[in-house]
């Protein structure tokens, strides 16, 4: 039981990193990133390949994954700068699909849909329970670091610029702010954190394949952030933990509803997530922990 709880908190922590990443780009700067899963997979594959093929030490590979995530994020915003918000959403969605197709087809590098297995853990897997606890501690530390970083951004004057860009990009530009540069930098930081989450996922589960990084993953993170509170980093973390809690706790409802079949239990679980989301949007559209208003 305890190793199950440890595993779920570890996964929730990885989701929390994804939610913080999305909050930076979408929550604070208003840049819709529907390609989040693509950046997560870039991080996972970068770190997974560097450790399994080139034998890099795990910390170095994770760092490299973050840099690759950052570079790809910067490159993508750079080419889409002239696009309006809704176009950015479409381009990022397409970008994620391009990444997925590249992973499926570049067999020499990624083994296609067979995926990459045997990725070493951040803590050696041989330690068993120690591996679980150690990875949990490191994942929580990474979340804390991401939170600290993202909240520094949010509370700084730079963060005010971000909110200004989100609410009125033209006005911000007229006020003399370099909107382009701010957008590129923020998106890069956001995708670096997404890559970090992907790298953690790869080293934790030891196996990655293109099917893991489906658009559903992006949707889950949007769900977590919306429930937690868009624009609030604490809300992002809370939403991620709440999402995993709901997804997992709903499993334990099944034994108390023996009148339903296994298929119905599965459907009830999916409905529960949807109902919770609709209720949040109806009664608390700003999320559980909404964005605080600043000076």
């Amino acid at each position: 039981m305890d190793s199950y709880l440890i595993a779920m908190v570890t996964l929730a922590a990885i989701y929390a990193m994804m939610a913080i990443s999305l909050n930076l780009s979408w929550g604070l700067a208003g840049m819709v990133n529907l390609g989040l899963a693509g950046f997560i997979s870039i991080g996972a594959y970068a770190s997974g390949l560097l450790t399994t093929v080139l034998g890099w030490p795990v910390p170095l590979a994770i760092l490299a994954a973050m840099i690759i995530g950052l570079v790809s994020g910067v490159a993508l915003t750079y080419v889409t700068l002239r696009l309006r918000d809704d176009y950015l959403a479409i381009v990022t969605l397409g970008f994620a699909e391009v990444i997925r197709l590249a992973i499926v087809n570049e067999l020499w590098l990624t083994h296609g849909s067979d995926g990459i297995s045997g990725i070493p853990g951040i803590v050696a897997r041989e330690y068993g329970y120690g591996f679980e606890l150690g990875t949990l501690a490191l994942a929580l530390a990474a979340v804390a670091l991401c939170y600290w970083l993202a909240d520094r951004v949010r509370t700084s004057p730079y963060g005010r610029n971000l909110r200004a860009i989100r609410d009125d990009p033209e006005g911000t530009a007229v006020a003399g702010k370099n909107v382009t540069l701010i957008k590129v930098k923020t998106f890069g930081l956001s995708t670096a954190i997404a890559a970090l989450a992907g790298a953690f996922y790869a080293h934790y589960t030891s196996f990655i394949s293109p099917e893991i990084f489906q658009p559903l993953l992006t949707m889950y993170v949007f769900l977590a952030l919306t429930m937690g509170g868009t624009g609030n980093n604490r809300g992002a973390m809370l939403g991620a933990f709440l999402l995993i809690f709901v997804l997992e706790a709903s499993r334990f409802i099944a034994p108390s509803l023996p009148q339903f079949s296994a298929v119905q239990h599965a459907a009830i679980r999916e409905m529960l997530v949807a109902v919770l989301f609709i209720l949040t949007l109806l009664y608390r559209p700003q999320g559980i922990s909404p964005e605080t208003r600043h000076r």
Partner: protein, 400 residues
């Protein structure tokens, strides 16, 4: 500051609820009575047309075995989780089956991506895992014997494809199919078979979402193959067959059951599909285990995955009985003792349990086939159904 308070309250409530679930679940796992077997099948997502049937077949056997007194004097408790045909969700689900429910075995992972993702958790936690997912690479993982697969691997399916082409007298074989995760394996396997026999082999991979394949067909016709293997699904095969017919192409055509089936026939002119062959992994339709399964689930024609699920649970139960111990390691060590060898042939768990209780050896022959496994956990031999379109109807040529 109001928002901060609320956050704290929410965090507290969340923490409390988590603790509640933890206590509830630990109480559930504290019961030492029954032997728990996990069922991890797709109940939602792309595989959800197969998962429920697999689950029902497993549940029917569990009920049958429990009715006959259980195994090792203990009842079997079946716990089902939905893998959502999604490897990320499946990893969380199998964690619950292994860590919370303490499953001795996990049966069912259907999609290759799901099976590959959950496999490491099975061998790390010493839990037996029986899968369907057919990508060759899965059973080559370092699984220490904890993995068995009841579905023929992609290589085995490709080999049957190639064998039919050669048996029908093909001298110049051509593979024409869309890009899928399995296409390259098909080509490699058939190419080697053709090469070994000194036959000509060529291949071409196309983009399955295209609406015309005229250029692909033109370049194929330059080689003038006498046998063409069609690797596609219904949508692209329909286009290919129309264009081949229009081009007056008369060579032998062989497809997979996923592409050449009744739904293809519905939208096609009769002449364009006449004579086309189809190869499909099949349950062991004539076997006694298949008849028993049909009677047990009350369905005269269970599908291949239901047959495999039936075999998975029967093998697991027999292995536990043979080992005399309900642990994943014991089940792993005993599984090949009950699946193959010179023991008495049995086709269901209660019969086998009775024999094992008398100290006799058993050899389970299943609904999906003979269920003999090699050192990788792959089945040694598989049954395939060969069909052909004759007078606009799909007709079974043979099952072997």
């Amino acid at each position: 500051m109001e928002t901060l308070n609320l956050t704290r309250r929410a965090a507290l409530a969340g923490g409390g609820a988590a603790l509640g679930v933890a206590l509830f679940a630990s109480r559930a796992s504290a019961q030492t009575g029954p032997i728990t077997i996990g069922c991890l099948v797709p109940l939602t997502g792309a595989g959800s047309i197969y998962g429920p049937g697999m689950r029902d077949a497993i549940a029917a056997v569990v009920k049958q075995v429990n009715g006959a007194g259980g195994v090792l004097g203990q009842q079997i408790q079946l716990v089902t989780e939905d893998d959502q045909t999604n490897p990320e969700a499946a990893v969380r689900a199998i964690r619950k089956l292994i860590n919370v429910d303490k499953s001795v075995a996990v049966l069912g992972p259907w999609a290759s991506s799901v099976a590959a993702a959950v496999a490491p958790l099975c061998w790390e936690n010493q839990t037996l895992c029986a899968i369907v997912g057919s990508a060759d690479s899965i059973t080559r993982l370092p699984h220490q014997g904890f993995l068995i697969r009841t579905q023929p691997s992609i290589s085995m399916q490709a080999a049957r494809f190639g064998k039919l082409a050669i048996d029908l007298g093909g001298k110049s074989i051509y593979f024409l199919g869309p890009q899928t995760p399995f296409t390259q394996t098909y080509i490699d396997v058939v190419a080697k078979m053709a090469h070994d026999k000194g036959l000509t082999f060529n291949s071409q991979i196309y983009d399955g979402s295209k609406t015309s394949f005229r250029s692909e067909i033109d370049s194929m016709r330059q080689v003038a193959p006498d046998t063409v293997l069609l690797g596609g699904y219904v949508t692209d095969i329909a286009v290919v067959l129309r264009e081949l017919y229009r081009a007056n192409f008369t060579s032998r055509l062989i497809g997979f059951g996923t592409g050449v089936n009744t739904s293809l026939l519905q939208g096609m002119p009769k002449e364009a599909v006449e004579g086309v062959y189809a190869v499909t992994p099949s349950a062991s339709l004539q076997g006694s285990a298949y008849q028993k399964l049909a009677a047990l689930v009350g369905n005269p024609a269970p599908g291949p995955f239901e047959a495999q699920a039936y075999d998975m649970i029967n093998l697991t139960v027999l292995a536990i009985a043979q080992a005399g111990k309900a642990t994943g390691v014991a089940a792993r060590d005993a599984i090949r003792t009950v699946s193959q060898g010179d023991g008495t042939v049995v086709d269901n768990a209660p019969d086998g349990l009775a024999l094992i209780a008398k100290g006799q050896k058993v050899n389970y022959e299943g609904a999906s086939g003979s269920c003999d496994f090699d050192q990788y956990g792959d089945i040694v031999a598989a049954k395939f159904k060969i069909e052909r379109v004759l007078n606009g109807q799909i007709t079974t040529v043979e099952i072997s």
